[in-house]
Symmetry: C2
Subunit: 297 residues, 2 copies
Protein backbone atom coordinates (compact mmCIF):
# COMPACT_ATOMS: atom_id res chain seq x y z
CA UNK A 1 0.00 0.00 0.00
CA UNK A 2 1.42 3.35 -1.05
CA UNK A 3 0.13 6.84 -0.41
CA UNK A 4 -1.47 6.83 -3.84
CA UNK A 5 -3.57 3.72 -3.32
CA UNK A 6 -7.24 4.58 -2.94
CA UNK A 7 -9.21 7.10 -4.93
CA UNK A 8 -7.61 9.89 -6.90
CA UNK A 9 -9.67 12.74 -8.29
CA UNK A 10 -8.67 14.00 -11.75
CA UNK A 11 -9.28 17.46 -10.42
CA UNK A 12 -11.17 19.95 -12.59
CA UNK A 13 -9.26 23.00 -13.80
CA UNK A 14 -10.98 26.33 -13.10
CA UNK A 15 -10.51 29.40 -15.27
CA UNK A 16 -10.82 33.11 -14.80
CA UNK A 17 -12.99 35.09 -17.19
CA UNK A 18 -9.99 35.32 -19.53
CA UNK A 19 -9.78 31.50 -19.54
CA UNK A 20 -6.47 31.59 -17.69
CA UNK A 21 -6.17 28.82 -15.07
CA UNK A 22 -7.25 30.09 -11.67
CA UNK A 23 -4.94 28.85 -8.90
CA UNK A 24 -7.20 30.10 -6.09
CA UNK A 25 -10.24 28.08 -7.13
CA UNK A 26 -7.92 25.18 -7.99
CA UNK A 27 -6.40 25.03 -4.53
CA UNK A 28 -9.82 25.35 -2.92
CA UNK A 29 -11.16 22.34 -4.85
CA UNK A 30 -7.95 20.39 -4.17
CA UNK A 31 -8.33 21.00 -0.46
CA UNK A 32 -12.03 20.01 -0.51
CA UNK A 33 -11.16 16.77 -2.29
CA UNK A 34 -8.17 15.92 -0.12
CA UNK A 35 -10.12 16.63 3.05
CA UNK A 36 -12.35 13.74 1.98
CA UNK A 37 -9.32 11.46 1.96
CA UNK A 38 -8.86 11.53 -1.79
CA UNK A 39 -5.59 11.88 -3.64
CA UNK A 40 -5.30 14.03 -6.75
CA UNK A 41 -4.58 13.24 -10.39
CA UNK A 42 -4.31 16.76 -11.84
CA UNK A 43 -4.06 17.36 -15.60
CA UNK A 44 -5.93 14.25 -16.64
CA UNK A 45 -8.62 14.09 -19.30
CA UNK A 46 -11.23 15.47 -16.89
CA UNK A 47 -8.83 18.25 -15.88
CA UNK A 48 -8.61 19.43 -19.50
CA UNK A 49 -4.91 18.72 -19.01
CA UNK A 50 -4.15 18.70 -22.71
CA UNK A 51 -5.88 22.05 -23.09
CA UNK A 52 -3.23 23.61 -20.84
CA UNK A 53 0.30 24.61 -21.78
CA UNK A 54 3.21 23.05 -19.93
CA UNK A 55 3.84 26.37 -18.17
CA UNK A 56 0.21 26.55 -17.02
CA UNK A 57 0.41 23.04 -15.59
CA UNK A 58 3.68 23.76 -13.83
CA UNK A 59 2.20 26.90 -12.27
CA UNK A 60 -0.88 25.02 -11.03
CA UNK A 61 1.34 22.36 -9.49
CA UNK A 62 3.33 25.12 -7.81
CA UNK A 63 0.10 26.51 -6.40
CA UNK A 64 -0.75 23.14 -4.82
CA UNK A 65 2.73 22.94 -3.32
CA UNK A 66 2.67 26.50 -2.05
CA UNK A 67 -0.68 25.81 -0.39
CA UNK A 68 1.04 23.06 1.55
CA UNK A 69 -1.10 20.26 0.15
CA UNK A 70 0.41 16.79 0.35
CA UNK A 71 2.14 15.99 -2.95
CA UNK A 72 2.69 12.50 -1.61
CA UNK A 73 -0.91 11.94 -2.62
CA UNK A 74 -0.64 13.46 -6.09
CA UNK A 75 -0.18 11.82 -9.49
CA UNK A 76 -0.25 14.60 -12.10
CA UNK A 77 -0.66 13.79 -15.78
CA UNK A 78 2.60 14.53 -17.56
CA UNK A 79 2.40 12.65 -20.88
CA UNK A 80 2.38 15.10 -23.78
CA UNK A 81 2.78 14.66 -27.55
CA UNK A 82 6.24 16.20 -27.47
CA UNK A 83 9.01 14.33 -25.70
CA UNK A 84 10.57 17.51 -24.37
CA UNK A 85 7.25 18.65 -22.87
CA UNK A 86 6.74 15.30 -21.11
CA UNK A 87 10.25 15.42 -19.71
CA UNK A 88 9.93 18.99 -18.47
CA UNK A 89 6.58 18.41 -16.80
CA UNK A 90 7.54 15.05 -15.29
CA UNK A 91 10.76 16.47 -13.87
CA UNK A 92 8.81 19.33 -12.35
CA UNK A 93 6.33 16.94 -10.76
CA UNK A 94 9.16 14.94 -9.22
CA UNK A 95 10.91 18.10 -8.04
CA UNK A 96 7.66 19.19 -6.41
CA UNK A 97 7.49 15.92 -4.50
CA UNK A 98 4.67 14.18 -6.33
CA UNK A 99 4.58 10.46 -5.56
CA UNK A 100 3.88 9.52 -9.14
CA UNK A 101 3.04 10.77 -12.61
CA UNK A 102 0.26 9.51 -14.86
CA UNK A 103 1.66 9.21 -18.35
CA UNK A 104 -0.44 9.27 -21.46
CA UNK A 105 1.45 8.02 -24.53
CA UNK A 106 2.17 10.60 -27.24
CA UNK A 107 -1.24 10.70 -28.91
CA UNK A 108 -0.99 12.50 -32.24
CA UNK A 109 0.28 9.67 -34.45
CA UNK A 110 -2.27 6.89 -34.51
CA UNK A 111 -0.52 3.84 -35.88
CA UNK A 112 2.62 3.62 -33.84
CA UNK A 113 4.63 0.50 -33.10
CA UNK A 114 5.27 -1.05 -29.74
CA UNK A 115 8.96 -0.19 -30.24
CA UNK A 116 7.98 3.44 -30.73
CA UNK A 117 5.85 3.54 -27.61
CA UNK A 118 8.53 1.81 -25.58
CA UNK A 119 11.05 4.39 -26.79
CA UNK A 120 8.65 7.22 -25.95
CA UNK A 121 8.26 6.17 -22.31
CA UNK A 122 11.88 5.10 -22.06
CA UNK A 123 13.25 8.45 -23.24
CA UNK A 124 11.13 10.35 -20.71
CA UNK A 125 12.25 8.12 -17.84
CA UNK A 126 15.91 8.35 -18.79
CA UNK A 127 15.86 12.08 -19.39
CA UNK A 128 14.09 12.82 -16.11
CA UNK A 129 16.84 10.68 -14.61
CA UNK A 130 15.58 10.90 -11.05
CA UNK A 131 15.37 7.85 -8.80
CA UNK A 132 12.23 9.30 -7.21
CA UNK A 133 10.24 9.08 -10.46
CA UNK A 134 7.28 6.69 -10.39
CA UNK A 135 5.38 6.23 -13.62
CA UNK A 136 1.77 5.13 -13.94
CA UNK A 137 0.77 4.40 -17.53
CA UNK A 138 -2.49 5.86 -18.80
CA UNK A 139 -4.46 3.39 -20.93
CA UNK A 140 -7.36 5.22 -22.56
CA UNK A 141 -7.71 3.90 -26.09
CA UNK A 142 -11.04 5.63 -26.75
CA UNK A 143 -9.50 9.04 -26.21
CA UNK A 144 -5.79 8.66 -27.01
CA UNK A 145 -6.36 6.03 -29.71
CA UNK A 146 -3.12 4.50 -28.46
CA UNK A 147 -3.73 1.38 -26.37
CA UNK A 148 -1.07 0.25 -23.91
CA UNK A 149 -0.91 -3.50 -24.27
CA UNK A 150 0.46 -6.25 -22.03
CA UNK A 151 3.58 -6.80 -24.12
CA UNK A 152 4.57 -3.15 -23.81
CA UNK A 153 3.97 -3.18 -20.06
CA UNK A 154 6.11 -6.29 -19.73
CA UNK A 155 8.99 -4.62 -21.55
CA UNK A 156 8.70 -1.46 -19.45
CA UNK A 157 8.59 -3.40 -16.20
CA UNK A 158 11.67 -5.35 -17.20
CA UNK A 159 13.57 -2.23 -18.24
CA UNK A 160 12.44 0.05 -15.41
CA UNK A 161 11.57 -2.07 -12.38
CA UNK A 162 10.44 0.09 -9.48
CA UNK A 163 9.96 3.06 -11.80
CA UNK A 164 7.07 1.92 -13.97
CA UNK A 165 4.74 0.87 -11.19
CA UNK A 166 1.13 1.03 -12.29
CA UNK A 167 -1.56 1.91 -14.76
CA UNK A 168 -4.87 3.71 -14.96
CA UNK A 169 -7.26 1.77 -17.17
CA UNK A 170 -9.93 4.03 -18.66
CA UNK A 171 -10.94 1.51 -21.32
CA UNK A 172 -13.96 0.37 -19.32
CA UNK A 173 -12.88 -3.18 -20.12
CA UNK A 174 -12.97 -5.14 -16.86
CA UNK A 175 -11.34 -8.20 -18.38
CA UNK A 176 -8.29 -6.10 -19.25
CA UNK A 177 -8.03 -4.74 -15.69
CA UNK A 178 -8.36 -8.17 -14.15
CA UNK A 179 -5.82 -9.71 -16.50
CA UNK A 180 -3.37 -6.88 -15.74
CA UNK A 181 -3.71 -7.56 -12.00
CA UNK A 182 -3.08 -11.25 -12.59
CA UNK A 183 -0.27 -10.89 -15.10
CA UNK A 184 1.74 -8.35 -13.12
CA UNK A 185 1.55 -8.95 -9.36
CA UNK A 186 2.39 -5.77 -7.46
CA UNK A 187 1.61 -3.60 -10.46
CA UNK A 188 -0.86 -0.96 -9.30
CA UNK A 189 -4.00 -1.09 -11.42
CA UNK A 190 -6.47 1.76 -11.03
CA UNK A 191 -9.96 1.39 -12.44
CA UNK A 192 -10.82 4.40 -14.56
CA UNK A 193 -14.45 4.19 -13.51
CA UNK A 194 -16.28 3.76 -10.21
CA UNK A 195 -18.53 1.25 -12.00
CA UNK A 196 -15.76 -1.35 -11.66
CA UNK A 197 -14.28 -0.64 -8.23
CA UNK A 198 -15.48 -3.84 -6.59
CA UNK A 199 -14.35 -6.35 -9.23
CA UNK A 200 -11.05 -4.55 -9.69
CA UNK A 201 -10.37 -4.47 -5.93
CA UNK A 202 -11.25 -8.16 -5.75
CA UNK A 203 -8.74 -8.85 -8.52
CA UNK A 204 -6.02 -7.04 -6.56
CA UNK A 205 -6.39 -3.51 -7.89
CA UNK A 206 -4.98 -0.43 -6.18
CA UNK A 207 -8.01 1.82 -6.42
CA UNK A 208 -9.90 4.12 -8.73
CA UNK A 209 -9.24 7.32 -10.66
CA UNK A 210 -12.57 8.59 -11.95
CA UNK A 211 -13.86 11.91 -13.27
CA UNK A 212 -16.85 11.68 -10.95
CA UNK A 213 -14.58 11.73 -7.90
CA UNK A 214 -14.72 15.49 -8.37
CA UNK A 215 -18.25 15.41 -7.00
CA UNK A 216 -18.78 12.00 -5.37
CA UNK A 217 -15.35 10.74 -4.38
CA UNK A 218 -16.06 9.96 -0.74
CA UNK A 219 -18.51 7.21 -1.71
CA UNK A 220 -15.90 5.71 -4.03
CA UNK A 221 -13.27 5.78 -1.32
CA UNK A 222 -15.62 4.03 1.10
CA UNK A 223 -15.90 1.14 -1.35
CA UNK A 224 -12.18 1.03 -2.15
CA UNK A 225 -11.48 0.81 1.58
CA UNK A 226 -14.41 -1.46 2.39
CA UNK A 227 -14.52 -3.83 -0.56
CA UNK A 228 -14.14 -6.87 1.71
CA UNK A 229 -17.07 -5.76 3.90
CA UNK A 230 -20.60 -7.12 3.88
CA UNK A 231 -22.00 -3.89 2.49
CA UNK A 232 -19.67 -3.77 -0.51
CA UNK A 233 -22.15 -5.00 -3.10
CA UNK A 234 -24.67 -2.42 -1.97
CA UNK A 235 -22.03 0.32 -2.13
CA UNK A 236 -21.15 -0.72 -5.67
CA UNK A 237 -24.83 -0.70 -6.62
CA UNK A 238 -25.15 2.78 -5.15
CA UNK A 239 -22.25 4.00 -7.25
CA UNK A 240 -23.83 2.49 -10.34
CA UNK A 241 -27.05 4.36 -9.60
CA UNK A 242 -25.05 7.55 -9.24
CA UNK A 243 -23.16 6.88 -12.43
CA UNK A 244 -26.34 6.25 -14.38
CA UNK A 245 -27.56 9.77 -13.70
CA UNK A 246 -24.37 11.18 -15.26
CA UNK A 247 -24.82 9.17 -18.46
CA UNK A 248 -25.41 11.16 -21.62
CA UNK A 249 -24.10 14.35 -20.02
CA UNK A 250 -21.00 16.05 -21.45
CA UNK A 251 -18.93 14.93 -18.50
CA UNK A 252 -16.47 17.74 -17.87
CA UNK A 253 -19.00 20.51 -18.38
CA UNK A 254 -21.45 18.65 -16.15
CA UNK A 255 -18.91 18.24 -13.35
CA UNK A 256 -18.05 21.91 -13.57
CA UNK A 257 -21.72 22.88 -13.42
CA UNK A 258 -22.22 20.75 -10.32
CA UNK A 259 -19.12 22.34 -8.77
CA UNK A 260 -20.49 25.79 -9.58
CA UNK A 261 -23.73 24.90 -7.81
CA UNK A 262 -21.97 23.37 -4.82
CA UNK A 263 -19.66 26.33 -4.32
CA UNK A 264 -22.10 29.03 -5.39
CA UNK A 265 -19.39 30.23 -7.77
CA UNK A 266 -20.60 30.56 -11.35
CA UNK A 267 -17.01 30.92 -12.57
CA UNK A 268 -16.60 27.17 -12.19
CA UNK A 269 -18.76 26.67 -15.28
CA UNK A 270 -16.04 27.91 -17.63
CA UNK A 271 -14.36 25.39 -19.94
CA UNK A 272 -11.68 25.91 -22.53
CA UNK A 273 -12.46 25.31 -26.19
CA UNK A 274 -12.97 22.86 -27.83
CA UNK A 275 -15.25 21.99 -24.90
CA UNK A 276 -18.43 23.96 -24.37
CA UNK A 277 -20.41 24.68 -21.21
CA UNK A 278 -23.45 22.67 -20.18
CA UNK A 279 -26.67 24.12 -21.63
CA UNK A 280 -29.04 25.56 -19.00
CA UNK A 281 -31.74 22.95 -19.59
CA UNK A 282 -29.21 20.14 -19.26
CA UNK A 283 -27.98 21.59 -15.99
CA UNK A 284 -31.50 21.65 -14.56
CA UNK A 285 -32.01 18.04 -15.69
CA UNK A 286 -28.71 16.97 -14.15
CA UNK A 287 -29.51 18.61 -10.85
CA UNK A 288 -32.88 16.88 -10.69
CA UNK A 289 -31.29 13.55 -11.50
CA UNK A 290 -28.59 13.98 -8.83
CA UNK A 291 -31.21 14.79 -6.22
CA UNK A 292 -33.14 11.67 -7.21
CA UNK A 293 -30.18 9.50 -6.16
CA UNK A 294 -29.52 11.49 -3.02
CA UNK A 295 -26.43 13.32 -4.24
CA UNK A 296 -27.17 16.86 -3.23
CA UNK A 297 -25.25 20.04 -2.90
Amino acid sequence: MTSLDGVLAPILTPYGDDLAPDPVRFVALARWLMDQGLGLAPFGTTSEGNSLSVEEKMALLDALAEAGLDRGRMMPGTGCCALTDSVRLSAHAVARGCSGVLMLPPFYYKTVSEDGLFAAFSEVIQRVGDSRLRVYLYHFPQQSQIPIGHALIERLLAAYPGVVVGLKDSSGDLSNMVSLCRAFPGFKVFAGTERLILPVMRAGGAGCISANANIHGAAMLALVRGWRDAGAEAMQAGLEGFRAVMEGMPLIAALKAVTAIRTGDAGWRRVRPPLVGLPVDKEAELLARLKSVGVLF
Copy 2:
Protein backbone atom coordinates in the same frame (compact mmCIF):
# COMPACT_ATOMS: atom_id res chain seq x y z
CA MET B 1 -2.79 34.14 -56.59
CA THR B 2 -0.88 34.66 -53.35
CA SER B 3 2.69 33.82 -52.52
CA LEU B 4 1.48 30.61 -50.88
CA ASP B 5 -0.32 29.24 -53.94
CA GLY B 6 1.58 26.34 -55.47
CA VAL B 7 3.29 23.51 -53.64
CA LEU B 8 4.27 23.71 -49.97
CA ALA B 9 6.57 21.12 -48.44
CA PRO B 10 5.73 20.05 -44.88
CA ILE B 11 9.44 20.14 -44.23
CA LEU B 12 11.02 17.30 -42.26
CA THR B 13 12.47 18.15 -38.85
CA PRO B 14 16.07 16.98 -38.34
CA TYR B 15 17.50 16.08 -34.94
CA GLY B 16 20.93 15.96 -33.41
CA ASP B 17 22.03 12.77 -31.69
CA ASP B 18 20.32 14.02 -28.52
CA LEU B 19 17.06 14.30 -30.50
CA ALA B 20 17.12 18.09 -30.18
CA PRO B 21 15.94 19.85 -33.36
CA ASP B 22 18.89 20.75 -35.55
CA PRO B 23 18.54 24.24 -37.07
CA VAL B 24 21.51 23.81 -39.40
CA ARG B 25 20.14 20.76 -41.21
CA PHE B 26 16.68 22.34 -41.10
CA VAL B 27 17.77 25.51 -42.86
CA ALA B 28 19.73 23.48 -45.42
CA LEU B 29 16.66 21.42 -46.33
CA ALA B 30 14.47 24.54 -46.35
CA ARG B 31 16.84 26.20 -48.79
CA TRP B 32 16.98 23.12 -51.03
CA LEU B 33 13.18 22.98 -51.14
CA MET B 34 12.67 26.70 -51.70
CA ASP B 35 15.30 26.76 -54.44
CA GLN B 36 12.96 24.40 -56.31
CA GLY B 37 10.21 27.02 -56.12
CA LEU B 38 8.39 25.36 -53.25
CA GLY B 39 6.93 27.09 -50.23
CA LEU B 40 7.20 25.59 -46.75
CA ALA B 41 4.63 24.25 -44.31
CA PRO B 42 6.83 23.58 -41.26
CA PHE B 43 5.50 21.73 -38.20
CA GLY B 44 2.90 19.70 -40.05
CA THR B 45 2.24 16.00 -39.55
CA THR B 46 5.24 15.07 -41.71
CA SER B 47 7.40 17.53 -39.78
CA GLU B 48 6.64 15.73 -36.52
CA GLY B 49 5.27 19.12 -35.51
CA ASN B 50 3.30 17.75 -32.58
CA SER B 51 6.40 15.97 -31.31
CA LEU B 52 8.06 19.37 -30.78
CA SER B 53 7.50 21.79 -27.92
CA VAL B 54 6.27 25.29 -28.69
CA GLU B 55 9.71 26.66 -27.83
CA GLU B 56 11.39 24.23 -30.22
CA LYS B 57 9.06 25.29 -33.03
CA MET B 58 9.62 28.98 -32.34
CA ALA B 59 13.38 28.47 -32.40
CA LEU B 60 13.22 26.62 -35.73
CA LEU B 61 11.11 29.40 -37.21
CA ASP B 62 13.68 31.90 -35.95
CA ALA B 63 16.38 29.89 -37.70
CA LEU B 64 14.54 30.14 -41.03
CA ALA B 65 14.12 33.87 -40.54
CA GLU B 66 17.73 34.41 -39.53
CA ALA B 67 18.84 32.50 -42.62
CA GLY B 68 16.98 35.11 -44.67
CA LEU B 69 14.56 32.63 -46.22
CA ASP B 70 11.33 34.15 -47.52
CA ARG B 71 8.62 33.83 -44.85
CA GLY B 72 6.18 35.13 -47.41
CA ARG B 73 6.19 31.58 -48.71
CA MET B 74 5.77 29.88 -45.35
CA MET B 75 2.68 28.47 -43.63
CA PRO B 76 3.80 26.90 -40.34
CA GLY B 77 1.50 24.59 -38.43
CA THR B 78 0.40 26.34 -35.24
CA GLY B 79 -2.68 24.45 -34.04
CA CYS B 80 -1.99 22.76 -30.68
CA CYS B 81 -4.23 21.08 -28.12
CA ALA B 82 -3.84 23.98 -25.70
CA LEU B 83 -5.34 27.34 -26.66
CA THR B 84 -2.45 29.25 -25.13
CA ASP B 85 0.10 27.24 -27.13
CA SER B 86 -1.74 27.87 -30.40
CA VAL B 87 -1.92 31.59 -29.65
CA ARG B 88 1.74 31.87 -28.74
CA LEU B 89 2.94 29.97 -31.79
CA SER B 90 0.57 31.71 -34.22
CA ALA B 91 1.56 35.13 -32.92
CA HIS B 92 5.21 34.22 -33.34
CA ALA B 93 4.62 33.07 -36.91
CA VAL B 94 2.90 36.37 -37.75
CA ALA B 95 5.64 38.36 -36.04
CA ARG B 96 8.20 36.49 -38.10
CA GLY B 97 6.39 37.50 -41.28
CA CYS B 98 4.83 34.17 -42.28
CA SER B 99 2.09 34.65 -44.88
CA GLY B 100 -0.19 32.15 -43.21
CA VAL B 101 -0.55 29.52 -40.52
CA LEU B 102 -1.92 26.00 -40.94
CA MET B 103 -4.18 25.33 -38.02
CA LEU B 104 -5.04 21.86 -36.80
CA PRO B 105 -8.04 21.83 -34.46
CA PRO B 106 -7.33 20.88 -30.82
CA PHE B 107 -7.13 17.12 -31.22
CA TYR B 108 -7.25 15.44 -27.81
CA TYR B 109 -11.00 15.42 -27.21
CA LYS B 110 -12.67 13.33 -29.89
CA THR B 111 -16.35 14.17 -29.75
CA VAL B 112 -16.43 17.92 -29.81
CA SER B 113 -19.24 20.11 -31.05
CA GLU B 114 -19.15 22.53 -33.95
CA ASP B 115 -19.63 25.32 -31.39
CA GLY B 116 -16.57 24.11 -29.53
CA LEU B 117 -14.43 24.01 -32.65
CA PHE B 118 -15.67 27.42 -33.75
CA ALA B 119 -14.74 28.78 -30.33
CA ALA B 120 -11.31 27.12 -30.50
CA PHE B 121 -10.38 28.81 -33.80
CA SER B 122 -12.13 32.02 -32.84
CA GLU B 123 -10.25 32.42 -29.56
CA VAL B 124 -6.90 31.95 -31.29
CA ILE B 125 -7.72 34.51 -33.97
CA GLN B 126 -8.95 37.08 -31.46
CA ARG B 127 -6.08 36.57 -29.05
CA VAL B 128 -3.44 36.84 -31.76
CA GLY B 129 -5.29 40.05 -32.66
CA ASP B 130 -3.07 40.90 -35.62
CA SER B 131 -4.52 42.05 -38.94
CA ARG B 132 -1.72 40.22 -40.74
CA LEU B 133 -2.88 36.80 -39.52
CA ARG B 134 -4.09 34.44 -42.28
CA VAL B 135 -5.47 31.10 -41.16
CA TYR B 136 -5.57 27.94 -43.24
CA LEU B 137 -7.60 25.17 -41.61
CA TYR B 138 -6.09 21.70 -41.48
CA HIS B 139 -8.63 18.98 -42.25
CA PHE B 140 -7.08 15.60 -41.49
CA PRO B 141 -9.77 13.43 -39.91
CA GLN B 142 -7.75 10.22 -40.10
CA GLN B 143 -5.03 11.70 -37.89
CA SER B 144 -6.72 14.39 -35.79
CA GLN B 145 -10.05 12.53 -35.59
CA ILE B 146 -11.61 15.99 -35.78
CA PRO B 147 -13.09 16.72 -39.21
CA ILE B 148 -13.59 20.33 -40.28
CA GLY B 149 -16.95 20.39 -41.99
CA HIS B 150 -18.56 22.84 -44.40
CA ALA B 151 -20.87 24.36 -41.77
CA LEU B 152 -17.91 25.23 -39.54
CA ILE B 153 -16.02 26.75 -42.45
CA GLU B 154 -19.04 28.82 -43.37
CA ARG B 155 -19.28 30.22 -39.84
CA LEU B 156 -15.57 31.00 -39.70
CA LEU B 157 -15.63 32.73 -43.09
CA ALA B 158 -18.58 34.84 -41.99
CA ALA B 159 -16.94 35.77 -38.68
CA TYR B 160 -13.40 36.26 -39.94
CA PRO B 161 -13.51 37.26 -43.61
CA GLY B 162 -10.04 37.81 -45.00
CA VAL B 163 -8.50 36.04 -41.99
CA VAL B 164 -9.71 32.47 -42.47
CA VAL B 165 -8.65 32.07 -46.07
CA GLY B 166 -8.08 28.44 -46.93
CA LEU B 167 -7.75 24.79 -45.99
CA LYS B 168 -5.44 21.86 -46.43
CA ASP B 169 -7.48 18.71 -47.06
CA SER B 170 -5.57 15.59 -46.07
CA SER B 171 -8.64 13.38 -46.05
CA GLY B 172 -7.86 11.95 -49.47
CA ASP B 173 -11.51 12.56 -50.35
CA LEU B 174 -11.59 14.32 -53.73
CA SER B 175 -15.31 14.98 -53.54
CA ASN B 176 -14.78 17.00 -50.36
CA MET B 177 -12.04 19.09 -51.98
CA VAL B 178 -14.11 19.76 -55.08
CA SER B 179 -17.18 20.68 -53.09
CA LEU B 180 -15.12 23.07 -50.92
CA CYS B 181 -13.83 24.81 -54.05
CA ARG B 182 -17.38 25.15 -55.37
CA ALA B 183 -19.02 26.15 -52.08
CA PHE B 184 -16.50 28.81 -51.13
CA PRO B 185 -15.17 30.72 -54.15
CA GLY B 186 -11.85 32.35 -53.37
CA PHE B 187 -11.22 29.98 -50.46
CA LYS B 188 -7.79 28.43 -51.01
CA VAL B 189 -8.06 24.66 -51.08
CA PHE B 190 -4.81 22.70 -50.97
CA ALA B 191 -4.84 19.02 -51.84
CA GLY B 192 -3.07 17.05 -49.13
CA THR B 193 -1.78 14.57 -51.69
CA GLU B 194 -0.09 14.84 -55.08
CA ARG B 195 -2.43 12.08 -56.26
CA LEU B 196 -5.20 14.65 -56.61
CA ILE B 197 -3.40 17.73 -57.92
CA LEU B 198 -4.99 17.72 -61.35
CA PRO B 199 -8.64 17.33 -60.33
CA VAL B 200 -8.24 19.81 -57.47
CA MET B 201 -6.60 22.42 -59.72
CA ARG B 202 -9.37 21.89 -62.29
CA ALA B 203 -11.92 22.52 -59.53
CA GLY B 204 -10.21 25.80 -58.66
CA GLY B 205 -7.78 24.66 -55.97
CA ALA B 206 -4.76 26.65 -54.83
CA GLY B 207 -2.16 23.89 -54.88
CA CYS B 208 -0.81 20.99 -52.92
CA ILE B 209 0.79 20.39 -49.53
CA SER B 210 2.14 16.86 -49.50
CA ALA B 211 4.66 14.95 -47.42
CA ASN B 212 6.36 13.70 -50.55
CA ALA B 213 7.23 17.25 -51.58
CA ASN B 214 10.21 16.74 -49.28
CA ILE B 215 11.75 14.53 -51.94
CA HIS B 216 9.79 15.08 -55.18
CA GLY B 217 8.26 18.55 -54.93
CA ALA B 218 9.51 19.95 -58.23
CA ALA B 219 7.40 17.46 -60.19
CA MET B 220 4.36 18.44 -58.14
CA LEU B 221 4.98 22.13 -58.77
CA ALA B 222 5.28 21.51 -62.50
CA LEU B 223 1.77 20.05 -62.50
CA VAL B 224 0.30 22.75 -60.25
CA ARG B 225 1.67 25.35 -62.64
CA GLY B 226 0.95 23.43 -65.82
CA TRP B 227 -2.40 21.79 -65.11
CA ARG B 228 -3.97 23.44 -68.16
CA ASP B 229 -1.23 22.14 -70.46
CA ALA B 230 -1.44 19.22 -72.83
CA GLY B 231 0.97 17.16 -70.79
CA ALA B 232 -0.95 17.50 -67.53
CA GLU B 233 -2.53 14.05 -67.55
CA ALA B 234 0.85 12.47 -68.14
CA MET B 235 2.37 14.49 -65.29
CA GLN B 236 -0.41 13.36 -62.97
CA ALA B 237 0.13 9.75 -64.04
CA GLY B 238 3.84 10.17 -63.33
CA LEU B 239 3.10 11.43 -59.82
CA GLU B 240 0.81 8.48 -59.23
CA GLY B 241 3.58 6.11 -60.24
CA PHE B 242 5.92 7.87 -57.84
CA ARG B 243 3.34 7.76 -55.09
CA ALA B 244 2.74 4.06 -55.56
CA VAL B 245 6.35 3.29 -54.71
CA MET B 246 5.93 5.05 -51.36
CA GLU B 247 2.85 3.02 -50.42
CA GLY B 248 3.20 0.74 -47.42
CA MET B 249 6.29 2.61 -46.20
CA PRO B 250 6.20 4.37 -42.82
CA LEU B 251 6.10 7.75 -44.52
CA ILE B 252 8.09 10.07 -42.26
CA ALA B 253 10.87 7.56 -41.60
CA ALA B 254 11.00 6.77 -45.32
CA LEU B 255 11.29 10.44 -46.30
CA LYS B 256 14.04 10.93 -43.75
CA ALA B 257 15.91 7.89 -45.05
CA VAL B 258 15.72 9.22 -48.61
CA THR B 259 16.96 12.61 -47.37
CA ALA B 260 19.84 10.91 -45.58
CA ILE B 261 20.80 9.18 -48.81
CA ARG B 262 20.44 12.32 -50.91
CA THR B 263 22.55 14.43 -48.57
CA GLY B 264 24.98 11.72 -47.49
CA ASP B 265 24.12 12.65 -43.91
CA ALA B 266 23.03 9.68 -41.79
CA GLY B 267 21.79 12.03 -39.05
CA TRP B 268 18.72 12.72 -41.17
CA ARG B 269 17.44 9.24 -40.33
CA ARG B 270 16.62 10.21 -36.72
CA VAL B 271 12.96 10.45 -35.69
CA ARG B 272 11.45 11.28 -32.32
CA PRO B 273 9.44 8.65 -30.47
CA PRO B 274 6.77 7.43 -30.91
CA LEU B 275 8.03 7.13 -34.49
CA VAL B 276 10.78 4.68 -35.30
CA GLY B 277 13.40 4.72 -38.03
CA LEU B 278 13.03 2.79 -41.27
CA PRO B 279 14.44 -0.75 -41.01
CA VAL B 280 17.50 -1.36 -43.18
CA ASP B 281 15.75 -3.86 -45.45
CA LYS B 282 12.88 -1.47 -46.02
CA GLU B 283 15.31 1.27 -46.91
CA ALA B 284 16.97 -0.91 -49.53
CA GLU B 285 13.56 -1.81 -50.95
CA LEU B 286 12.49 1.83 -51.05
CA LEU B 287 15.65 2.88 -52.82
CA ALA B 288 15.18 0.20 -55.46
CA ARG B 289 11.57 1.22 -55.93
CA LEU B 290 12.44 4.91 -56.31
CA LYS B 291 15.08 4.08 -58.91
CA SER B 292 12.49 2.04 -60.81
CA VAL B 293 10.38 5.17 -61.34
CA GLY B 294 13.35 7.36 -62.14
CA VAL B 295 13.51 9.22 -58.84
CA LEU B 296 17.16 8.99 -57.98
CA PHE B 297 19.48 10.65 -55.53
